[in-house]
């Protein structure tokens, strides 16, 4: 189980460049489903026929992660870049990155503190002050290794540590991808047809999910997310979005959707009946693929189950493995009890 998480989080897949993640997932799920295909946007859909009703249940996790894209190469061989998705610029300085398909090692650089003007030191670093250093000494040399348009990901290994915790990049939303893969591997066939969807470009505006909602047009949809967890020093308890180790977080409302109350009720009852810990996600900012899926065509009943992840959108997100396992257990029990 952890081995899958390791492979999924260590592969690069910035929004628009999900090919390697897609390939990995395709290999994982192929033996367990009736059909696997990629749509025009690049979404991967794994289809598992059910035993009867013909009703459609969609599970969705996004393959893409936040990262960077190379926009130019300076005469000094330093790379200019833009951020893809939402990243707090303050987490960037001195982080290691991998550039381009071949994964050239690089560092996010900035001029040293003693060279900064007093005013610069007072303010948080801005992205435009930074560059990526791949060790090249000239534009010519750098151009042999990378080109504008190349994607850049954080260079970060999957590490298990502490009390059943893991640290990795891209837990948002490879944790969701891994959870859905584990669900597919359960040999269960349901009364309904299962569409396990792995979407593209969630981090740049829920784009893959928009066409998935339209093409799959499911009866119900469950989005599986790695979501923010702010139970850390300096934050008032009422502002914790989720708590680590307290189980999967069920969304009531976020910035992109009001979860279907019938589904939320079913999820809560399933958790209570099965003795699975759960929590409600607090706060209503942000959004996820459910925001697009629930508005597809005539409307879709949709809900979100999330795995709390601290330091999301950074090279080192932290997740509790029990939360991860309980998320799988909850959705599995929900699907088994789901009669359409």
């Amino acid at each position: 189980m952890a081995e899958l998480l390791k492979r999924l989080t260590e592969v690069g897949g910035v929004s628009g460049d999900e090919g390697r993640v897609r390939q990995l997932i395709r290999q994982e799920v192929s033996p367990f489903v009736d059909e696997v295909y990629t749509d025009r946007m690049g979404n991967l859909i794994a289809y598992k026929k059910g035993k009867g009703s013909g009703k459609k249940v969609m599970l969705c996790a996004h393959m893409d992660e936040v990262g960077f894209i190379i926009t130019g190469i300076g005469e000094d061989g330093m790379l200019k870049f833009k951020v893809v998705g939402g990243i707090d610029p303050r987490v960037l300085v001195s982080k290691r990155v991998l550039v381009g398909e071949k994964g050239h090692a690089g560092v996010l650089g900035i001029k040293a503190i003693h060279l900064q003007e007093p005013e610069e030191r007072e303010h948080a670093v801005k992205v435009k002050q930074m560059y990526i250093d791949i060790g090249a000494v000239s534009k010519e040399e750098a151009s042999q290794a990378v080109k504008p348009g190349d994607y850049v990901v954080f260079d970060s290994k999957y590490v298990e540590f502490g009390d059943n915790k893991v640290k990795a990049k891209a837990l948002d939303d490879r944790a969701g991808c891994a959870a859905i893969i584990e669900l597919i591997k359960q040999e269960q066939r349901y009364g309904f047809d299962l569409y396990a969807c792995f979407s593209v470009q969630e981090e740049v505006g829920l784009r893959g999910a928009e066409v998935l909602g339209y093409s799959i047009n499911p009866d119900i949809a469950i989005v599986v997310e790695g979501t923010t967890c702010s139970d850390v020093p300096g934050v008032d308890e009422h502002l914790y979005t989720t708590l680590m180790g307290k189980g999967p977080a069920i969304t009531i409302m976020d910035g992109s959707s009001y979860a279907n109350k019938e589904l939320v009720g079913m999820l809560v009852n399933t958790a209570k009946n099965e003795g699975i810990p759960f929590q409600f996600k607090k706060g209503a900012s942000g959004g996820n693929d459910a925001g697009r899926i629930h508005l597809a065509r005539k409307g879709v009943k949709a809900a979100t189950v999330s795995i709390p992840c601290r330091y999301i959108h950074s090279p080192s997100s932290v997740m509790d493995l029990d939360d991860y396992k309980n998320t799988i257990t909850l959705i599995s029990a929900f699907l088994k009890g789901c009669e359409l």
Binding site: H238, K282, A284, K298
Partner: protein, 331 residues
């Protein structure tokens, strides 16, 4: 008659995502005046009057803005997040009410020196609970409160919460009740989650695939002391939308509305709204595109617990809608 209906509708609970109660009230009101009714996946109420002419979608949203409980502390105070466009200034020290009748007061941590510094994260709802346990017996995480205020009238001006957009709902219900004959197939759609981003209208329009769409919603006015300039005033008649942030009204729908008003001698005003949008913003972009417009009801103090509309604007709005529906529609 409209007054009683408006009082009834504005006093019913129905924040975005929780439109069940208001939907039932509207359903009872319109029952018998349409041929069929259904509720769709998102919760929109679709009331259909069958006909052979144009398919006309009329939309007014049922939902109102509110406050969702996110946290209950050990002393029994509630923290909340906004459901729709709640503003700080309209909320401090206001009373709110939950679906189950529990009432609360909205307040703020510490003293207020400058209202511009206030963050929602520092505001709370006091429901008078003596502690966490008692509070949890009264409300739950995810429950939504709405403004708690009563309906009142002075000389043809109505004041109450949720005029946005129960005034629109009342206008459509009244239209359905008074409509004698129309060649058209008319969809009276009472939408959900408009305040969260015109969501209900999007799926309803897709399902109905109408020839023309008209949203009925409130709009702002420019007729109060030092208000932002806007050529819409209370009592000046229903406003015919030219544009807002979400759409440019289709010129033929706009001119249809203008010419029907002129033919019938109904006062009207043209509306250009610089903030906000309506269900028509979602409707007009559906499928291959749907010619759409908006019939607006001028309203002061929108998104507060005391929104004000004018009785004659409501009455003239119904008349204009009836004139539109009774004649031929060329789009």
């Amino acid at each position: 008659m409209m007054k009683e209906l408006l009082k009834k509708l504005t006093e019913v609970y129905g924040p975005s995502g929780n439109e069940e109660v208001i939907r039932d009230v509207i359903r009872q009101e319109i029952e018998g005046f349409v041929d069929e009714m259904r509720v769709d996946t998102l919760g929109n109420l679709i009331a259909i009057r069958r006909g052979r002419g144009k398919k006309v979608m009329l939309a007014a949203h049922m939902d109102q803005i509110g406050f969702m409980v996110t946290h209950i502390d050990e002393k029994g105070f509630l923290r909340f997040t906004r459901v729709g466009g709640i503003s700080v200034g309209n909320s401090i020290n206001r009373r709110v009410i939950f679906k189950n009748g529990v009432t609360g007061v909205i307040s703020y941590e510490g003293e207020i020196t400058d209202i511009r510094d206030i963050k929602f994260e520092r505001m709370y709802i006091d429901i008078g609970a003596s502690g966490q346990q008692q509070a949890e017996s009264m409300v739950s995480i995810g429950d939504v409160a709405v403004y708690h205020s009563t309906f009142s009238e002075n000389s043809g001006r109505y004041v109450g919460k949720a005029m946005d957009d129960r005034a629109g709902c009342a206008l459509l219900i009244e239209t359905a009740k008074r409509l004698q004959s129309s060649p058209h197939e008319i969809y009276f759609v009472f939408t959900v989650q408009e305040e969260l981003g015109v969501r209900g209208a999007k799926t309803a329009a897709y399902a109905l695939d109408p020839d023309i769409g008209i949203a009925v919603d409130v709009t702002l006015t420019g007729d109060t002391p030092k208000s932002r300039p806007m050529a819409v005033k209370l009592g000046g008649g229903p406003a015919i939308k030219v544009r807002d942030v979400s759409m440019l009204a289709h010129p033929r729908v706009r001119s249809l509305m203008v010419s029907r008003a002129q033919e019938a001698g109904i006062p009207y005003q043209m509306e250009i709204l610089e903030t906000g949008g309506t269900d028509a913003g979602a409707i007009h972009l559906t499928r291959e595109g749907i010619p759409s417009g908006v019939l607006s009801i001028p309203c002061r103090y929108v998104h507060s617990d005391s929104e004000m509309v004018d009785a004659s604007d409501m009455e003239n709005g119904v008349k204009l809608m009836l004139h539109i529906l009774e004649g031929e529609i060329e789009i």
